[in-house]
């Protein structure tokens, strides 16, 4: 065994038993990953940045407008980097693609997939992804993505091809639209809609349509049954979902998501409306088609439900959409019931001298003043928001290791009788609190 290890140039050999930890392998694997990151950044990342730079408004430095061709001079002159980054952060592109929008959601979604696989594995006495990326299977997701991209896309012969092609893209688009409505920190939201809760309901209403379109256009029996099941499930759980949020809207006195998050600066609504929070959480599980409500994808009954005919990256897109949707629902729970970004100040303050004088690092001086992302309150808000969202995601993932799948008739009776009843009880609680003058506009608290 020792000889084989040496013969393979010190590489680990695939075996059933996890190899013992060795510091040299660990360091080498980190170095390998760093090497590939540098290669990819140079060959893909920097050209992509150059392309983006043509579309953003460049800052004026020393009286002259910086051109995209000169943008990389910040590598030699760090004082130029700050205005460029600042100009980039004020663009809509940044908001949509990077920070409160798609980039953050995709990052959380990728983390969710990894955590889900590892956590479920620990629950089930396995190791989970282990070899890919060498450090605890950290690159498994990238490997899966590469595999999906390189696979052939097979379209059923009798499928309605345009709709079948559009469906995964529309699914991701709907999920991304949902993400864009979520405020992450004060002022940091892609679309700050006045009637934000209504906009959320409108976007959620698109998911069953996309699902049924994709299922029906595949022209196959198992996707059809899965699509109809998804339609039943989503529609019957949308009603308690909407009703359970009405209590919060009444107490907050506004429909704007930013306003609702600001209204619970001191006490989150889950303290007063626990019934609504529970109903909303169960509805999230059903809307996300997660165990115990994964009937539209019930493997042993209808193969993979409405995902059966998707192959290659079309399937990958649907999965991406599913996890974006998971992040969006968890974030919505955070905003509605857990107080969004509000929380005690944890982020350390910036020393005054850094803001005025900049940081001295040997010969280089970097000045930070006025950078929007480095605002202390905002960083603290993002930290709290992500902590709460990750906690909600954890509770969404947990039932998968504990519960079996329930049946469609049990699901419908749960949605129509029990959850709707409970959400009305929640509304009465909210009304009682409102008319007793305890909460709401002009209340005691």
């Amino acid at each position: 065994m020792e000889f084989e290890l040496l013969a393979c140039g010190g590489r680990q050999i695939m075996s059933v038993i996890a190899p013992t930890f060795r510091l040299s392998y660990f360091l080498k694997s980190i170095l390998d990953n760093v090497f590939w990151i540098i290669v990819l950044v140079t060959l893909v990342g920097i050209p992509a940045i150059q392309i983006v730079l043509f579309y953003i408004e460049m800052p004026v430095i020393n009286g002259e407008l910086l051109t995209p061709f000169l943008a990389l001079t910040w590598l030699a002159d760090p004082s130029r980097a700050i205005p460029i980054v600042k100009a980039f952060m004020y663009t809509d592109f940044f908001r949509i693609a990077v920070f409160p929008g798609f980039g953050l959601a995709a990052l959380v979604a990728a983390g969710t997939i990894f955590v889900e696989r590892k956590m479920l594995a620990k629950l089930q006495l396995r190791v989970g992804p282990f070899y890919c990326g060498k450090v605890e299977g950290i690159l498994q997701l990238a490997g899966d993505g590469l595999k999906l991209i390189s696979k052939e896309i097979i379209i059923p012969a009798k499928a309605d091809k345009p709709i079948f092609w559009i469906a995964p893209v529309a699914f991701v688009g709907t999920a991304a639209a949902f993400v864009s409505l979520i405020p992450v920190a004060p002022g940091w939201v892609v679309a700050d809609v006045e009637l934000g809760v209504l906009a959320v309901f409108a976007v959620i209403g698109f998911f069953p349509i996309v699902t049924v379109l994709s299922a029906w256009s595949a022209n196959s029996k198992f996707p059809f049954i899965g699509g109809i099941r998804a339609l039943h499930q989503m529609i019957s759980f949308e009603i308690p979902l909407i009703l359970s949020l009405l209590g919060v809207v009444m107490l907050a006195g506004t429909m704007s998501l930013t306003g609702i998050a600001e209204s619970q600066e001191f006490i989150p609504w889950i303290v007063f409306l626990p019934v609504g929070a529970i109903v909303f959480f169960i509805c999230i599980l059903a809307e996300l088609e997660r165990i115990p409500f994964d009937l539209p994808e019930a493997e042993s009954e209808i193969v993979a439900g409405w995902l059966t005919e998707f192959s290659g990256m079309m399937y990958g897109l649907v999965q991406l959409g599913t996890y974006l949707k998971l992040y969006a629902f968890a974030a919505l729970f955070t905003v509605m019931f857990l107080g969004g970004w509000s929380g005690p100040m944890l982020w350390p303050p910036f020393p005054e001298e850094i803001i005025t004088d900049g940081i001295q690092l040997g010969p280089i001086t970097a000045t930070i003043p006025g950078l929007p992302l480095l605002d202390q309150a905002m960083l603290n808000g993002v930290l709290w928001f992500l902590l709460k969202t990750v906690a909600v995601i954890f509770f969404i993932l947990l039932p998968r290791g504990v519960f079996p799948r329930i049946r469609i008739d049990m699901l419908l009776s749960l949605g129509w009788y029990k959850l709707i009843g409970l959400s009305f009880i929640n509304i009465f609680i909210a009304l009682a609190l409102l008319y007793a003058g305890v909460l709401g506009p002009g209340g005691i608290i």
Binding site: K221, E299, E301, I302, F403, P404, R407, I408
Partner: protein, 379 residues
């Protein structure tokens, strides 16, 4: 219409009724096993169900006619490779009677221990698949992992993880290793602790109970009338176990109970094998204590032994129910005919009756709770 008329019954494309859709569940379906179930559904209700086994028919019985009594052993266990001791048991008992061989007392105990270990291996595998059929992935992983305990023990005993080919006419192939008793007791003690945890996550799970209780109910009379065996029969309230009713080898001297549940639904059918595993642990412990500590485990045979001009029928209790083997001998080194009567096929007969009128979501739980192994049914 003309084209679809030429197709076999399950593949017909024309609609029988506007409301009824025909589903082909299997053989390329994650919830079917090596078989096809033609299901006709009206909305979510199953109108008719037609199980169609035979995709893995390998002619084991015919092949047995060309091999002598010893060379038959490794291939007669192929139908259920993870219950290979039990499927060989009736053949070996029958061959011993035909060839007139006496079995040493110690070998009988070793056989019982190996058979009970193998029953646990099979039942855990079956339970793992039952778990994943209901969407419970933890219940897939836990039994799959605990199965390794018994597989390791059997590897220690026989030299192979599956397909042991351990039982032979005249005893067993080799004696136990020196420390087997200690290791076996330790593993069994650990397993009994583990198996109690299954009830926490699976059998006492409210969703599981509400999902499988009162589905696919097989009444006591129907269970007898349809000829079901094993756990399906015992879940319907019939106290029938071949180990108790027609004890073979040393089962009459061992201390164990049969588990009988009254309700006859999917939940009871899934619970009886779990309770049986606990009894298996009891049997193993009892057999280890009562076993003669030394002695031969094998009576040597003459080369190419020949049977008389008779036939013999032997039955044992396998993981799936009563398993019979009918051997006809015509004074030749090869058996004239070997017929395996397997529990899987008998239990499958009940499936169309149970699934009629059920919801489509109950199909996996009812189907797999019948304790049916497609490869064994096809032989």
């Amino acid at each position: 219409m003309t084209m679809s008329a030429q197709l076999p019954p399950g593949l017909q494309l024309e609609k029988v009724d506007e409301r009824i859709m025909t589903l082909n569940v299997g053989p390329q379906h994650p919830g079917s096993g090596h078989m096809r179930i033609i299901v006709q559904i009206d909305g979510d209700y199953i109108v008719a169900c037609d199980p169609d086994p035979g995709y893995v028919h390998r002619g084991e019985e015919k092949m047995a006619e060309y091999r002598n009594y010893i060379t038959n052993i490794p291939h007669l266990e192929r139908p259920v490779i993870h219950d290979s001791c039990n499927i060989l048991y009736p053949y070996v008992l029958g061959a011993e009677e035909l060839l007139g061989i006496e079995v040493p007392e110690r070998a009988k105990y070793v056989r019982v221990i190996a058979a009970e270990l193998n029953r646990c291996v099979y039942t855990l595998y079956w339970l793992a698949i039952y778990g994943i059929f209901l969407g419970h992935s933890t219940m897939f992983m836990w039994p799959s992992g605990d199965r390794e305990l018994f597989i390791d023990l059997l590897e220690k005993l026989t030299g192979a993880r599956v397909t042991h080919a351990y039982f032979i006419p005249g005893g067993v192939r080799n004696d136990m290793p020196a420390n087997f008793e200690d290791v076996c007791l330790r593993q069994v003690r650990y397993f009994e602790k583990r198996i109690a945890e299954y009830s926490d996550i699976f059998y006492d799970n409210p969703i599981l109970i509400s999902r499988t209780a009162n589905t696919g109910v097989l009444s006591r009379n129907d269970a007898i009338r349809l000829g079901t065996t094993g756990s399906v029969l015992r879940a319907s309230g019939v106290d029938y176990d071949v180990r108790k009713k027609e004890p073979y080898d040393v089962y009459d001297s061992l201390d164990f109970e049969t588990n009988v549940l009254k309700s006859g639904d999917s939940y009871a059918r899934s619970k009886v094998p779990w309770l049986d595993m606990m009894e298996s642990c009891r049997i193993i412990r009892d057999a280890l204590s009562k076993m003669p500590k030394s002695g031969s485990v094998r009576t040597k045979l003459k080369p190419n032994p020949k049977g008389g001009d008779t036939s013999v029928y032997k039955r044992v209790e396998s993981g799936r129910g009563a398993l019979g083997c009918h051997i006809v001998s015509r004074k030749k080194p090869e058996p004239y005919r070997v017929k395996l009567s397997v529990g899987s096929f008998r239990n499958l007969i009940a499936m169309p009756y149970l699934l009629k009128g059920e919801k489509l979501g109950n199909m996996p739980s009812v189907y797999w709770s019948l304790n049916y192994w497609p490869v064994e049914a096809d032989r």
